[in-house]
Amino acid sequence: MSLVADSLRRIVSRGRTAPAVAASVGEPERVSAPAAVPAPIDIAPNDPIIPYFQSAAGAVDIEALELDSPALEAMRSAGVKLVVPLVTQGELIGLLNLGPRLSDQDYSGDDRRLLESLAAQAAPAVRVGQLVREQEAEIRSRERLEQELAVARLIQQNFLPRSLPEVAGWSVAADYRPAREVGGDFYDFIDLPDGRLGFVVGDVTDKGVPAALVMAATRSVLRASAQRLVEPGAVLERVNEHLVPDIPENMFVTCLYGVIELETGRLVFANAGHNLPMVASGGAVTELMARGMPLGLMPGMEYEETEALLDPGAHLLLYSDGVTEAHDADREMFGGGRLSSVMAEAGTRRGDALLRTLIAALGAFVAPGAEQEDDITLVAIRRESGAGAADALADFSVASEPGNEREAIRRIEPALAAAGLSGARLERMKTAVAEAVMNAMEHGNGFQPELPVDVTLVRDGDALRVDVTDRGSARPMPEAPDPDIDAKLAGEQTPRGWGLFLIRNMVDELDVSGDDEHHTTRLVMHLEGGRDDDRA
């Protein structure tokens, strides 16, 4: 109905001139006799004349019409005598308004038939014109929207850190994945004096350029305040005071700001309504609580501060609601519980591996092929467990795509070499890793690219241990028979099936284990006294 009303509002009536036709498509200048262009008649969307015209059988005599309609009055006073509704497919799309005949005689039956036939032919053509115009307008507005999204994305990405802080004894990882329509997520790290590291995660409500600009402003004010003020709560208070006067209506910012004393692991943070951080430490996962209103809502807010100690090995995880509020096919949310279980499982791993595991868990949870609903931000800060412990020398994941075993070799080779493996034994370990990764990608993960294969290298005494883990849920690894080249050459056995055989012959120890969700192939090479030449 609003469309009709819109068209009708533009209807042009003719005054006391010849019975000319006034088109309804909204451009009065197209009407003939420009000398006497009359004012358009406004018809309110709820005017009873609209349903009347819509169902009228043909030309309507305005003088004889009895209807409580402001538009009817307006037509009469504009001198309209006869109206021919333009109706196509049951839809009223315009009106032909005619003044009195020049001869001042009434319109004859022939006149009416002629006008009605004209209207019947004009209506569909006018409708096509309207549709084309609407479509053009829609395309223009979509292009504007895309352009705005591109600008917003540019602003937002310009204000994200280009590199992660490198701090001895700590590992820092971040993963930011914008949704197509760009939410307002951001994160930041701030170098502070006296061996302290500041970190920020935040989310501006709303999307697009305004949200991106508020994000940029928040980040700048926060950076400046963090240098001047020590207490995280005071920093958020200052940022809030800056934002409140200028922030657009209905927009606010959730934000968590914290400071870590790198030497001691002491963490202090304040929270303006953002998702609470999680800490995985000593096998347990805890959520740290601090209260405070989002930034930009009200002046004079105070922010509670919470203190915690990050022990060696502890892993701090910060995230945005794009993580916990991702939905699966049944509209169930990922939630803090699932996040916490993944933390419990993978919290001891390096930050980038933890984040890969989290992203994989999220990818497996959401409906297949679903578009990402909101920005996803993950920041992981881990205090390394220090000398003597079995810290991973390499810890990474590769996607299950054919050929990615080469990527795994490329990434693990420097760590193997640095740990003291060289020559033939280095080559053997590389082949074993490649074959184990291929098995994991193909048989464990079925070459589903979103399922990662995790590779960790740990030194345990004189043993170098590589674990290759897939996501093959409860599917037993195929037990290939020992390959028999005579049978293969005779065509009695598939030419394939060399992987596990090769691995077994490459490394000092091989162990395959699994649980409900994973298989792990463990490859062990000893640095000393290995069986270098026992096969020659």
Partner: protein, 115 residues
């Protein structure tokens, strides 16, 4: 990083030399089949596989070589492997491929080798 396998075939006095360049993995099957057919069509009575420009062979690549060796044996065409690194020579021995083909001692890597 990975390089698709290309195989050039040189036939001289009934011996076809298959010059392999790139990775011998699952992607290399078509190139190797084509090269074998070309050698067979040229009437080769013996085959040399030159691995000097092969940086990487994996288990699916071993399977391809087993397949090629099977075809050659069916046609009573002897096969020689040359240009293998020590590591892949070891793998050819472990898999017993070396029982069915002659392995030439590793020559210094020629020009154009990726190693």
């Amino acid at each position: 990083m990975t390089t698709a396998l290309e195989v050039k075939v040189d036939v001289l006095d009934g011996t076809a030399t298959l010059l392999l360049a790139g990775d011998v993995d699952r992607e290399g099957g078509a190139a190797l089949d084509r090269a074998y057919s070309e050698a067979a069509a040229a009437g080769a009575v013996s085959l040399i596989l030159d691995f000097a420009a092969v940086p990487y062979i994996n288990s699916t690549g071993i399977a391809l070589i087993v397949g090629l060796l099977g075809r050659a044996r069916a046609a009573a065409v002897p096969v020689t492997a040359r240009g293998l690194t020590d590591h892949y020579r070891e793998i050819f021995e472990i898999t017993r491929l070396s029982d069915f083909m002659t392995i030439e001692a590793g020559a210094p890597a020629p020009e154009g080798s990726t190693r």
